[in-house]
């Protein structure tokens, strides 16, 4: 079937449903009746006459069918004519077409780009099979309500449950490989149980999945790459299977590529989890676990059974599993709740970009309205020739839809071009999981197509109605200047302009609030000196002596560098958050009952305060003499001192923390005991959690008395030049020290602060809203200019007469400006009210100011008033330069 005839049958079906069909049946029946009457009158019997009439008709169904074809054909034919005509008109008005299409391309392109992200992240369901049966399983301990699961616990759940069809686990921590031998930048992978993909119902798009045996020691050097990594680093090479890469464990082979967006977190590859090599420590909880419910099993049943298993484990292994339970929730709900904040932000931007599209469409509608004046004469001529009004409207609508489709096509090109940078911004802000594949695909194109067509119809309707308003007696007089159609056209135009100005206010207020929050945030001091400060991280080892020795050696090595002022290690640098610990103070009764004796718990080395630039308020910092053998000591933060020692000197007082014996630092199986520590110093407050949160109480302990296996190495360089040099060389120095250890990328603290979530979160919204607001103001200015210019042109004759009669130029000028001022004021008032409603959604993003910040509203009003004034000043000037002679000759 040709496209034309397929299209024809679609149209036919659309056109000919019940009413038209019934009408046709009646018509044909009437024909048969009358033909029979005729034949009876000619002398036939009633029965013969009827039979003859039916024969004359031919098959009823055939007639019906050919009538439908004829109608559909005629409709399509006209549509084609309208289309050809529309293209001709658009080509003839090249200037207008270019301006309108560019405006629309901006609006539709921005919407397409945002939609492609929102669609993939928010709207589309997870790319797994039978997602409704997939559940996430996690642990919940007395201290941590959401925790991962240890490998032995996972094995016990796997063997003791009968609610899951499959259960799989992955560990996304501490695993890196290097793509090439020279490229010493590890990429992140997750170790997964071999049935992981099977449980999700995911097949690799190329290559093979993991099979039993891949997890036997010696066979495990195989990886599956993510779609995003494969596209970015291997240019989607279809022959990737069999390629090898270097890892810290040897050479690994690529066996396949995952479909897009299977991994919700930032990993680049999967590799089998090898039971023989993986930690069997029940206190080592690093596994993400999920499962597929058996058909018919509910989440409540699964939860009940996991409770039973947890109780059994608690009785059997009280040291590690005391008070521990397992929790379970639908996987899609789990993801939705973990990403709720990001989703809200994305939807907010989707709404904002919709406003931009509205302004763009309103501007184009204004252009079309202005042209409706010229077009109405053409329409009148056609109407005089007998074209019906509906035909004229259809013609004008086809024209505006074609125009919007051109804008849409350009918009898609624009979206393709900018979607990657947009994505990078959104990822940095934590709005979407890292490394997702986001493409301008079929769904997105469908969205753009529908948006263009609907917007073209909606915003083309008023201009079409205007142009097709064919009051013959009036139109043929040939003067559009005096027509009353002009009045309603002007009204429509003004409404559109007020809307544009109001929307500009909303977007400007939004971005103004974001700019002010952002400035306050970045100037908020984290409590440390971020300049020339470097950070890297490593795994110190699994035993206390090993870790202390490793970090001691690392510190000795880096301190040899002449460009270094100081170096230290810490369990958590500022902005990275901290783990809460309950403490008690000697001599303070009823401490444990409050909830306020929680403090951040950080392990540090000597020189930490010096390295970070944290002032010591009182007492001393740790020295090399504070070791496992000496008195347990502690440094507290100023906020803690102020709260618990308001009128006394904290130095020399003691506080206690629940600690495990240092000699078994990294095994949580060690018994917990309360250790009394002497306060030796008070340090200034630091924003440990994030830039936007007030500094919390913090307790520092020397890492030589207790150590974690993952620690950060902090280095303060002499100068920016040293920092740059060290950034490039530091890791090599450290790797040379112990080639078996991997080190994280060396980063500048400044960059860490700048890309930390609270900043990046706002940067995304700030940049987008700022861009939207900029485009909105620009379009509103152009729109205002256009409207005022037309208003002046409309009144040329009137103004000319008044000038001829001696009206001062200043009066004419101020009158036009006053008109513009009325519109602007209306826009500002409506916009301010709308902004109050809109900025409610921004509240969580604001920092240090309120959503009804007067400075912002005032500033926005001034900016917009100024823009509107400038946009209307030029037409107003022109009005005063009207030459009465020329104006009057226009008649």
């Amino acid at each position: 079937m040709s496209i034309q005839s397929r299209l024809a049958s679609v149209v036919k079906n659309l056109l000919h449903r019940t009413r038209v069909d019934k009408d046709l049946d009646d018509e044909l029946r009437a024909y048969v009746d009358m033909a029979a009457d005729e034949k009876r009158n000619a002398g036939m019997t009633a029965a013969d006459a009827r039979r003859a009439a039916l024969v004359e008709l031919g098959g009823l169904e055939q007639v019906r069918e050919s009538v439908r074809d004829a109608r559909a054909g005629a409709f399509l034919n006209q549509l084609r004519q309208d289309f050809v005509y529309a293209c001709r008109m658009l080509r003839r008005n090249r200037g207008l077409t270019t301006i309108a299409a560019t405006t629309l391309a901006l609006g539709i392109g921005a919407n397409t780009a945002i939609f492609s992200i929102v669609d993939t992240v928010v709207f589309r369901s997870l790319p797994y099979k039978d997602t409704e049966r997939l559940v996430k399983v996690w642990g919940a301990g007395p201290a941590e309500p959401v925790d991962n699961v240890s490998y032995p616990d996972f094995l016990d759940i796997r063997s003791q449950n009968d609610v899951f069809e499959q259960i799989a686990a992955d560990d996304a921590s501490n695993f890196g490989i290097w793509p090439t031998a020279t490229h010493r930048q590890p990429i992140d992978g997750a170790q997964v149980t071999v049935d992981w993909l099977g449980a999700l119902g995911v097949q690799p798009q190329i290559g093979r999945t993991f099979v039993d045996g891949d997890d036997k020691a010696g066979n495990e050097h195989v990886v599956l790459l993510t779609d995003a990594y494969w596209r970015r680093h291997f240019a989607a090479d279809p022959t990737i299977v069999g390629r090898t890469m270097t890892s810290d464990e040897g050479v690994v082979t690529v066996i396949g590529v995952l479909p897009p967006n299977v991994l919700r977190y930032g990993n680049d590859f999967l590799t089998p989890l090898v039971a023989a090599k993986y930690s069997h420590d029940r206190g080592h909880r690093d596994l993400d676990v999920f499962a597929r419910l058996k058909p018919g099993v509910t989440i409540t049943q699964a939860r009940a059974q996991l409770d039973t298993i947890a109780q059994r484990l608690e009785a059997e292994y009280p040291a590690t599993n005391k008070g521990r339970r397992f929790n379970v929730a639908a996987l899609d709900k789990y993801y939705t709740s973990t990403s709720a904040r990001g989703n809200r932000g994305l939807l907010l931007m989707f709404g904002a970009v919709g406003l931009v599209l509205f302004i763009a469409c309103a501007n184009v509608a204004n252009l079309l309205l202005a042209r409706a004046v010229t077009r109405s004469r053409e329409c009148m001529i056609r109407a005089a020739l007998g074209a019906g009004r509906s035909r004229l409207i259809r013609q004008m609508l086809v024209e505006s839809v074609v125009l919007f489709l051109i804008g849409g096509a350009l918009g898609v090109a624009l979206a393709r071009w900018c979607v990657d940078s947009l994505l990078a911004l959104a990822v940095a802000g934590g709005y979407i999981p890292e490394r997702m594949t986001i493409a301008v695909d079929g769904r997105v194109l469908a969205f753009t197509l529908i948006t263009s067509v609907v917007a073209g119809l909606v915003f083309g309707l008023v201009p079409a109605l205007q142009a097709s308003r064919t009051d013959l007696s009036e139109g043929l007089r040939g003067s559009s200047l005096s027509s009353s159609g002009g009045l309603s056209r002007r009204r429509a135009t003004k409404v559109l302009i007020v809307c544009e100005l109001a929307i500009s206010v909303v977007l400007l207020v939004g971005s103004g609030l974001m700019i002010r929050s952002f400035l306050r945030l970045v100037s908020a001091s984290p409590g440390i000196d971020v300049e020339n400060l470097l950070e890297t991280a490593s795994d110190g080892g699994r035993s206390f002596p090993e870790a202390v020795a490793f970090w001691g050696a690392a510190l000795d090595r880096v301190r040899q560098d002449p460009g270094i002022v100081a170096a230290a290690v810490t369990s958590r640098p500022p902005i990275h958050g901290s783990r809460g610990q309950t403490f008690a103070i000697e001599g303070h009764a009823n401490m444990a009952t409050g909830g306020d004796n929680q403090a951040g718990d950080i392990l540090i080395s000597e020189q930490y305060f010096k390295t970070m630039g944290i002032p010591l308020v009182k007492g001393r910092a740790f020295t090399e003499k504070d070791s496992g053998a000496s008195t347990p000591v502690v440094v507290i933060s100023q906020s803690l001192a102020r709260k618990f020692f308001p009128n006394e000197d904290p130095i020399g007082k003691r506080l206690s923390l629940a600690e495990r014996s240092p000699m078994t630092c990294c095994s949580s199986a060690a018994p917990v005991e309360n250790v009394w520590r002497e306060i030796v110093g008070v340090a200034a407050d630091v924003r440990q959690a994030s830039l936007e949160e007030q500094p919390a109480m913090t307790i520092y302990r020397p890492y030589t008395q207790i150590v974690e296996h993952d620690m950060y190495l902090m280095v303060r360089a002499q100068s920016a030049a040293d920092a740059t040099r060290l950034r490039a060389r530091l890791r090599d120095q450290l790797v040379a020290l112990d080639p078996s250890k991997a080190w994280a990328e060396v980063r500048l603290m400044q960059d860490i602060v700048r890309s930390s979530e609270s900043v990046a979160l706002r940067r995304f919204v700030l940049i987008l809203l700022g861009m939207f607001a900029g485009v909105a103001v620009l379009l509103a200015a152009v729109g205002t200019y256009g409207v005022m210019a037309y208003a002046v042109a409309d009144r040329t004759r009137e103004i000319g007469i008044r000038i001829a009669l001696g009206a001062p130029h200043a009066t004419v000028l101020s009158e036009v400006l006053f008109d513009a001022a009325k519109l602007t004021l209306a826009g500002l008032i409506i916009g301010a009210i709308a902004a109050q409603a809109f900025t409610r959604f921004l509240t969580s993003m604001l920092f240090g100011i309120s959503a009804s910040d007067a400075v912002t509203y005032l500033g926005v009003s001034c900016v917009l008033a100024l823009v509107a004034f400038l946009a209307s000043y030029v037409p107003a000037r022109r009005a005063t330069e009207v030459d009465p002679l020329i104006a009057l000759r226009q008649e």
């Binding site: 009437a30 024909y31 009358m34 007639v63 050919s66 034919n77």
Partner: protein
């Protein structure tokens, strides 16, 4: 049937229908009979081609239709020419005259 012939026939039929209706509104059967009449019985328009043509012409805006009552009190759909339809008839009539004269002289010249 070749396309050229079809379109020629279709054009002819359209012209005949428009011409028949230029004498006044009429229903399907009436139009068929009137065409027969004005062509001295040369063209017998069957419903199978008449109704598609009527609907096509209506869709193109040359005809409009309305339900009414026939001379022997039957409900029937009446067609009449629109202003565009009348205009189109004039144009097409002029065209046809030109074609007919050209054809006539062409045939006369060869014989």
């Amino acid at each position: 049937m070749g396309t050229a012939k079809t379109s020629l026939l279709q054009g002819t039929l359209d012209l005949l229908i428009l011409r028949a209706l230029s004498l006044g509104a009429n229903h399907g059967l009436g139009i068929a009979r009137r065409v027969q009449q004005i062509t001295d019985g040369t063209f017998d328009v069957r419903p199978g081609s008449l109704f598609p043509a009527l609907h096509r012409l209506e869709e193109q805006g040359w005809l409009r239709s309305e339900w009414g009552e026939s001379e022997n009190r039957r409900r029937a759909k009446y067609y009449e020419l629109t202003k565009t339809g009348r205009k189109h008839l004039e144009v097409e009539t002029a065209n046809w005259d030109r074609v007919a004269q050209a054809m006539a002289s062409a045939i006369a010249a060869t014989s």
